[in-house]
Structure formats: structure tokens, C-alpha cells
Amino acid sequence: MLLAKLALGFCGTVAVAGAYTFHEGIMRVEDDHFDGRHVHVWVPAAIVPMALHVVPNRRLERALEHAGPWLPALRELTKELKRYPEADFVEVQDGRQHVRIRTHQGKLLIDAIEPDETVHVACPLVMLEDIARELEARAPAA
């Protein structure tokens, strides 16, 4: 009976933790080289802003020194993009190179296709907004 209770408690916890972890969707990065190398990263979107907390301050501050002036724009952009869940923003076709930036089902999708490399990035807009807010909060005051 104790084991059953433990199992139930564990299952319940896993269900709740799983639900929370994936409630913002998944960030997906796929980089395929035509020489056979593949990098595929799937990360629960809710984890990414949390992961910023464990980045050493020193490293983050150095990065934020350069990105600082653009953070308000990034925050506003991610906030506004949520109003356009299904839209094509940029598409560039140049010979065999193709770049496309769009939103689909509340995700920002960036596709870059070149003859020797293909990159697909999908980020939930909610996650991008969280990251922008988090970065702005940690940026050194101007």
C-alpha cells in the first residue's frame, strides 16, 4: 500500500512537473550540414528563462554591455509579435539561399536554407518575451 501511494505520488508529481515544464511549449533548434553533421536541440521553453539564472553574472554582464541598447527594442518586439501569431514577416530568396522569418501557432520560426547547411529555429513567443524581460532586469543600469 505504501508502495502504491509512493508510486501515485511520484506519478502525480511527474505529471504536474511535466505539465509545468511544457506549458510554454518547446524551443527547437535544428542545424543540418550536408556533410552529415546534425545538431538538434529541443528544450522546454519554460526552462530557458530559468537557465539564465544560472549563467554566471560576469559572463552575462559582458554580453549585456553590447546588447544593452537593444534590449528595450527586443522586449517591445517580442511583446508585439504575440499579436501576430500567424504572419510572414521576411522572406528572401537568393539563388539557392532561402531565409524566412514568420510566426506560426504562437512561435517565431526562422528558417535558413543554404546549399550546404539548413537551420530551423522555433521559439515560443512567450519564451522570447520572458527572456527579454529577464535580460533587461539583469542589464547594468545605464
Binding site: Y20, F22, E76, Y84, D88, V90, E91, D94, G106
Partner: protein, 213 residues
């Protein structure tokens, strides 16, 4: 012996139900976001009906190799531009105080155009090119036609005067981009720029659609 078993079953059911309730509560926003393209498209449709989009399309009709399509919601640009403070751009305004305009007082020129009646301001017809600058029905038209190329080149610019007014509404030596975008968003579907030359075709226009044709 039946009592503990039924109690265990009851507890199992309760725990499972509680877990499901919490999971459903947490997953509901995802389900709503992911399983409803219809709601997404309805949001999109409502955004389309209210929002104005600036479109840029560059094509290379001869080779059909290069195509650039940009679709930008004017409201998004209005919100984001004021947050960029870099180089000449500050608070949605761009300064041009030290730009060399070959001695031309740009502001005085615009004031003169704004206050004058409808009509043609510049008409040049030569063997190489035709140039026409005119104001008509609240629009400023610029038309350039070059004849001395293998294929004729043609540039048509049509800018609503209200947009020009808004653009120059900031202080001296400044262009108010946000005000211009705001004024543009109240215009009907309009073709703003059209360039056709031997290599490329460029179109800039505004409408309520979030995609190019």
C-alpha cells in the same frame, strides 16, 4: 480485507483526479494556443482587419533568382522604433542636422510644397529622362523615367501629404518616423513606391493583409 482495498482505490482515484485537474489547468493555455489554428487565424483576421501592413517586394523578373518580401505591421513598427536609441535614431526620430543636402533647406522646401496649391512643381523632359514632381489630391507624386538604358527605368513615388506633414512635425533638423508611420496607418490601401528597371522591380505599398500576393 475489503476495507483497505476500497480505501486504496478511493485514494488512487483522488490522487489521479487531482493530478489530472492540475495538469489540465496547467496545460490549458498550451492546448488553447496549439490546438486552435482557427482561433489563431481569427485573431489574425481581427489583426488583419484593424492593422495596417507595410509591404516591400523586390523581384528580379529577368532571372527570377532574387526575391525579397517584407511584411511589417505599422503598429509594431510604431511601438518598436521609439525604443531604439542608436546613432541618429532617438525616440522614433532621426536627426539630419549634419547631412549635406547640397545647400537645399529641406524643411523650407517641404513647407513650400505643403502650403502651395495642387499642381506640377517640376517638369523636366530631356532626351535622357523625364522628371515630374507634383502635388495632387493630398498626395505628393514623384515620377522619374529614364530613357537611355537598354530597358527603360521608371520610378513612381506617391506619398500622402499628411505623412509628409507628420514626418516634418518634429523639431528642427529632425524627421519624426513614428508620427509618419502613425499617419500612414490611417491611409487607405495605397501603392507608395514602384520602381521598374532592367534588373529589378521594387514595390512598397500598404494594405490590411498580412501577406503579399
Amino acid at each position: 480485507m475489503n476495507f483497505p482495498a476500497s480505501r486504496l482505490t478511493e485514494k488512487m482515484a483522488l490522487t489521479l483526479a487531482a493530478s489530472l485537474v492540475v495538469a489540465v489547468a496547467l496545460l490549458a493555455p498550451v492546448a488553447a494556443a496549439q490546438a486552435s489554428p482557427a482561433s489563431g487565424s481569427s485573431q489574425n483576421a481581427s489583426a488583419s482587419s484593424h492593422d495596417r501592413w507595410l509591404h516591400v517586394r523586390i523581384t528580379n523578373p529577368g532571372k527570377n533568382e532574387e526575391t525579397v518580401r517584407v511584411n511589417l505591421p505599422l503598429e509594431l513598427a510604431e511601438k518598436v522604433l521609439p525604443t531604439i536609441n542608436k546613432n541618429r535614431l532617438h525616440s522614433g526620430k532621426v536627426s539630419f542636422d549634419d547631412i549635406d543636402c547640397h545647400g537645399v533647406d529641406l524643411r523650407a522646401l517641404v513647407d513650400a510644397v505643403r502650403t502651395s496649391k495642387d499642381g506640377e512643381f517640376v517638369t523636366v523632359q530631356s532626351k535622357d529622362s523625364d522628371v515630374r514632381v507634383a502635388k495632387q489630391n493630398g498626395y505628393l507624386f514623384v515620377h522619374v523615367f529614364e530613357k537611355n538604358r537598354p530597358k527603360h527605368s521608371q520610378v513612381e513615388v506617391k506619398v500622402p501629404m499628411k505623412v509628409v506633414d507628420a514626418l516634418f512635425s518634429a523639431g528642427k533638423d529632425e524627421l519624426d518616423l513614428v508620427a509618419a508611420l502613425h499617419a500612414l496607418s490611417f491611409q487607405g490601401d495605397t501603392e507608395l513606391v514602384s520602381v521598374k528597371d532592367e534588373e529589378n522591380t521594387v514595390r512598397v505599398w500598404i494594405d490590411s493583409k498580412n501577406v503579399t500576393d
